[in-house]
């Protein structure tokens, strides 16, 4: 566990809370707005009393004025069901010599899980590559964190990326609106991925896309003649990085910008996380971004 959550990070996370920006549906009261009206602190409206309603919530003052029974309704705080969708495709293994994208993504997943669990939200995990690798249904107790960590710990990066398949799988499992956090390098068919993101948004899910990138992917800092190997297929390509760097950088920037624009249109929270930055900074950035809204 220490691999994913060191005490300093835990201390920082304690002071934070991950709020769902949109209303979510949950079975326990928590810190997130629930679409269900119930009996809570914040008054929402009155409704006529019907037999079977809890008489504890009858507004007696209103009864004194109108001599009719009304039930006080409050906006209920409900708990969040969060789904960490973790990319375990081969491309996530990039950067093994220092910290691979997958390691980094795992840490973020654990940190977010811990954050959500600590605020009594449920959190689940879906690991995928070109297929579903592992699905852990959401739970809201801290013991569940150990479960998630152990699952992440046993994951390997391989095969190509199937983000759409993961979304499809998730959409079929989630009945209630929830928070979906995709941690991936997004190496997939951009059009399809954006379409699925739209679809999930249409289903009222809240989405956070954490685009994990390695600085080498952004900068292409190689020299001389390099044989590039496709991490997800068996292609190779000889190239002189010095000659193609500018072109490549503009292409990857365009790739990122496409995702950023697509997400912005759908009110999806999109953020780049660089593996050379501390995990806590990445998590803090996510939370900070969300607080602004």
């Amino acid at each position: 566990m220490r691999k994913y959550l060191d005490p300093a990070l835990i201390a920082q996370l304690h002071r934070l809370e991950l709020k769902a920006r949109l209303v979510v549906e949950g079975s326990l009261s928590g810190m997130h707005k629930s679409p269900y009206r119930g009996f809570s602190v914040e008054f929402a409206e009155h409704k006529s009393y019907f037999p079977g309603d809890d008489i504890r919530y009858i507004d007696w003052k209103l009864y004194g004025k109108t001599e009719k029974y009304f039930i006080k309704q409050y906006e209920e705080d409900t708990n969040l069901k969060g789904y960490i969708v973790l990319d375990t495709s081969a491309s996530m293994g990039f950067g093994k010599d220092k910290l691979s994208k997958f390691d980094y993504a795992g840490k973020i997943a654990v940190a977010l899980s811990y954050l959500m669990l600590s605020q009594r939200d449920s959190v689940g995990l879906l690991a995928f590559n070109n297929d579903i690798v592992k699905y852990v249904p959401p739970r809201n107790n801290m013991i569940h964190l150990q479960n998630i960590i152990s699952v992440i710990d046993n994951l390997n990066t391989r095969y190509d990326t199937g983000i759409c398949k993961a979304f499809q799988y998730l959409a079929s499992r989630i009945r209630r609106r929830g928070l979906i956090v995709l941690i991936s390098d997004l190496i997939d068919d951009q059009g399809k991925v954006l379409n699925y993101l739209r679809y999930l948004r249409h289903m009222k899910h809240e989405l956070i896309i954490l685009h994990v990138v390695h600085p080498d992917e952004l900068e292409l800092p190689y020299h001389g003649t390099v044989r590039f190997k496709n991490m997800e297929y068996s292609d190779t390509l000889m190239a002189a990085p010095d000659r193609i760097r500018k072109d490549y950088q503009s292409k990857i920037q365009s790739f990122i910008d496409t995702y950023r624009a697509g997400c912005w249109q759908e009110h999806i929270d999109y953020g780049i996380v660089r593996v050379d930055e501390p995990v806590e900074k990445a998590v803090l950035d996510i939370i900070a971004r969300r607080k602004k809204r």
């Binding site: 190496i187 001389g224 390099v226 297929y233 390509l237």
Partner: protein, 665 residues
């Protein structure tokens, strides 16, 4: 092809360096598993095949660069025989190098001998080491010398560097025999081909001499000679100086004969006379082809010049040769010539006398009509007699001869057959007065035509006589008769135009002149060898020398001994590489110094006619190559130093390499 700096080729293995570098670089190529492969692919990447080709090209360029630089340092020189069908590089070959004087003729800015040397050297260098080769040239004695190589052609090059010009006629026939002997000594199969390359200017004279040469049937001959010289045949000016000084008063005369051997008349030789290295006089001479001019120097020396070196030089504008001739001349006084009879009006005798004695004057040349008007004669006078035969005349001439008077007598024969002409067909060419006609032979006298006459003998009681010229019928026309110290030349002619055309031929004046000269030379005790003709030997008929010293211009002395052969004393094998003079020691006589001229044998310079040469080697396949054909136009030997081209190619390759490398990286 050969390399000027062969050892640089040891660097050739460096060529593997770029290959190793390439392999090392290939192994060093980073392999990176990259996630955004599609983005890399979509970037402007040179495709893999092009990259491989570029890589290969780079490798080739680097190898080329190394090879080019090594070749540049090694300096390859392409040489070899040209497409002449009879010559190839892998056949035993003998080079015959004509190192006679005429090869020093300058043409196209170089002498024929230099050109020949360059071509021989190139050809030798082009020969594989194991091919037998020989070089034949003329040594200092005028004999053919062979330098042979069976496995080391460098020997030939060394020998070639040390061959000097020799003042002899090059004996091609002897050279061919020598080459043939060399081939026979190789024990090669009879049918194995052999080459002879002859480098010469012409061999007309040799080719026209005697029998043909039978070479081995497998021998092929290539003659390399100047084909396109625009002078109507290469030629040169032969020259000789008179072998005595004639003293009159305080002054001396010396004549120089200069002959243009079939050369164009454009350039003018300069004859110079030096005394103690001081130029006394010089004269420009213009000569037409085949013309001989006698130039007389008339000078007053500082002191007694007998036995002193006088240096004469003929500067030939077209020849690269030191023509300096050192001369020690004996001195005698100008003689008095008395002409008796019908010749008194003849200007020819005067001309003949003046040709030799430039200082001749009325006092020295007397003319009288009859014997009774002849003044008292002195020893040393010369009489030219042309009066009708009579007992008085016979007596008078015998008396004069016995008193040492020189006589030239024109005696009409007794029985003349007018109407039938004959010619002179027999000449005693060994006689000194015929020395100038040695080359032409008896043909020199073919212009003389006389009426037939019966054999006649003037003063038959005199036994010491020598027939010099005979008619076609074997009847004497000219005789030399000696009595004690007197010498008489008898012409069976009237000295007019009645019996023959002799006095109108071009031979008349020179013959008279040489007759006068011979009488004078005989009188002062000079032996007959003074009238030298060729340079390799001289013969002493009368005197018995105790020793002969050959002294070269630098003062080196060579003692020579005379050998008694066939009743004559002959001194042979003389070192004649340079002109010089002899000191002849005779018992009871003062030492006599004799100048030794450059022989005039060389000089028959009419262009080489393949048809004539063919007569010399009729059964041998012979090809002819122009010595001065451009190297790229079919000269015998091609020799191209391509160092500059290689360097330029290296620079181009270097530039390409940089360009490709830059693009590649």
């Amino acid at each position: 092809m050969f390399f000027a700096n062969l050892w640089y080729l040891w660097f050739i293995p460096i060529i593997v360096a770029p290959i190793l570098l390439n392999i090392w670089k290939k192994q060093r190529i980073k392999e990176i598993d990259f996630p955004y492969f599609s983005l890399i692919q979509a970037s402007d990447v040179t495709n893999l095949t092009a990259l491989h080709i570029m890589n290969l090209l780079l490798l080739l360029l680097r190898m080329l660069l190394i090879v080019g630089l090594i070749l540049f340092m090694a300096r390859p020189i392409f040489s070899g025989f040209n497409a002449t069908p009879v010559v190839t590089e892998h056949i035993p070959v003998v080079f015959i190098y004509d190192n006679s004087v005429s090869m020093t003729y300058t043409h196209n800015g170089t002498t024929l001998s230099k050109k020949a040397r360059i071509q021989i050297a190139s050809a030798v260098k082009a020969l594989p080491a194991d091919i037998p080769a020989g070089l034949i040239f003329m040594n200092e004695q005028g004999n053919m010398e062979l330098v042979a190589s069976r496995s080391n052609p460098e020997r030939l090059l060394y020998a070639l560097d040390n061959i000097s010009v020799q003042y002899y006629r090059f004996d091609l026939k002897q050279a061919l025999y020598t080459a043939d002997s060399f081939f026979r000594s190789l024990s090669l199969p009879l049918k194995a081909r052999k080459n002879i390359l002859i480098f010469t200017d012409n061999q007309q004279y040799n080719a026209s001499l005697g029998d043909s040469v039978d070479l081995l049937p497998s021998v092929h001959v290539t003659v390399v000679y100047p084909q396109k010289m625009n002078v109507g045949g290469a030629g040169w000016f032969g020259y000789k100086f008179s072998d005595r000084l004639v003293k009159r008063g305080e002054k001396y005369t010396l004549s120089a004969d200069v002959r243009n051997f079939a050369k164009h008349s454009g350039s003018e030789p300069v004859v110079r006379l030096f005394e103690n290295d001081v130029l006394i006089e010089e004269s420009f001479i213009t000569l037409d082809r085949e013309e001989t001019v006698t130039k007389q120097f008339y000078f007053q020396p500082e002191d007694d010049i007998s036995l002193k070196k006088i240096r004469c030089a003929l500067l030939l504008p077209d020849f690269d040769i030191d023509n300096t001739m050192y001369l020690v001349a004996p001195v005698y006084d100008t003689p008095r010539i008395i002409i008796i009879g019908a010749l008194q009006e003849s200007v020819f005798i005067r001309a003949a006398a003046m040709t030799y004695f430039s200082d001749i004057s009325q006092d020295n040349l007397l003319t009288v009509t009859s014997l009774d008007k002849v003044p008292d004669l002195n020893a040393g006078d010369i009489v030219i007699c042309c009066v009708d035969r009579s007992p008085e005349m016979d007596k008078w001439i015998k008396n004069a001869l016995s008193n040492g008077i020189g006589v030239i007598a024109f005696v009409p024969p007794q029985n003349i057959m007018e109407g039938t002409l004959t010619s002179i067909e027999n000449a005693n060419l060994r006689h000194p007065i015929f020395a100038p006609y040695g080359l032409a032979g008896e043909r020199a006298f073919e212009s003389i035509h006389v009426f037939n006459y019966e054999r006649d003998t003037f003063l038959p009681e005199l036994q010491n006589r020598l027939v010099l010229l005979k008619t076609a019928q074997g009847v004497p026309f000219m005789e030399q008769v000696s009595l004690r110290d007197g010498i008489m030349f008898v012409f069976y002619d009237s000295a007019g135009e009645r019996l023959s055309n002799f006095v109108r031929t071009e031979l008349y004046v020179p013959l008279m002149h040489r007759a006068l000269d011979h009488i004078l030379a005989s009188r002062i005790g000079l032996p007959s060898y003074f009238n030298r003709t060729v340079g390799d030997r001289f013969v002493i008929t009368a005197d018995i020398p105790s020793s002969v010293t050959w002294i070269t211009p630098d003062g080196t002395r060579f003692e020579r001994d005379s050998l008694f052969i066939d009743g004559k004393y002959e001194i042979s094998g003389l070192p004649v590489a340079l002109p010089g003079y002899y000191t002849l020691m005779r018992d009871g006589h003062k030492p006599v110094s004799i100048a030794y001229n450059i022989p005039q044998g060389e000089g028959d310079m009419t262009p080489l006619d393949p048809a004539v040469l063919k007569r010399l080697i009729p059964d041998t396949p012979t090809a002819y190559v122009d010595m001065f054909a451009g190297e790229s136009e079919g000269g015998l030997v091609r020799r191209r130093d391509i160092g500059i081209q290689i360097l330029i190619a290296c620079l181009v390759v270097c530039f390409l390499e940089l360009a490709v490398a830059n693009r590649f990286s």
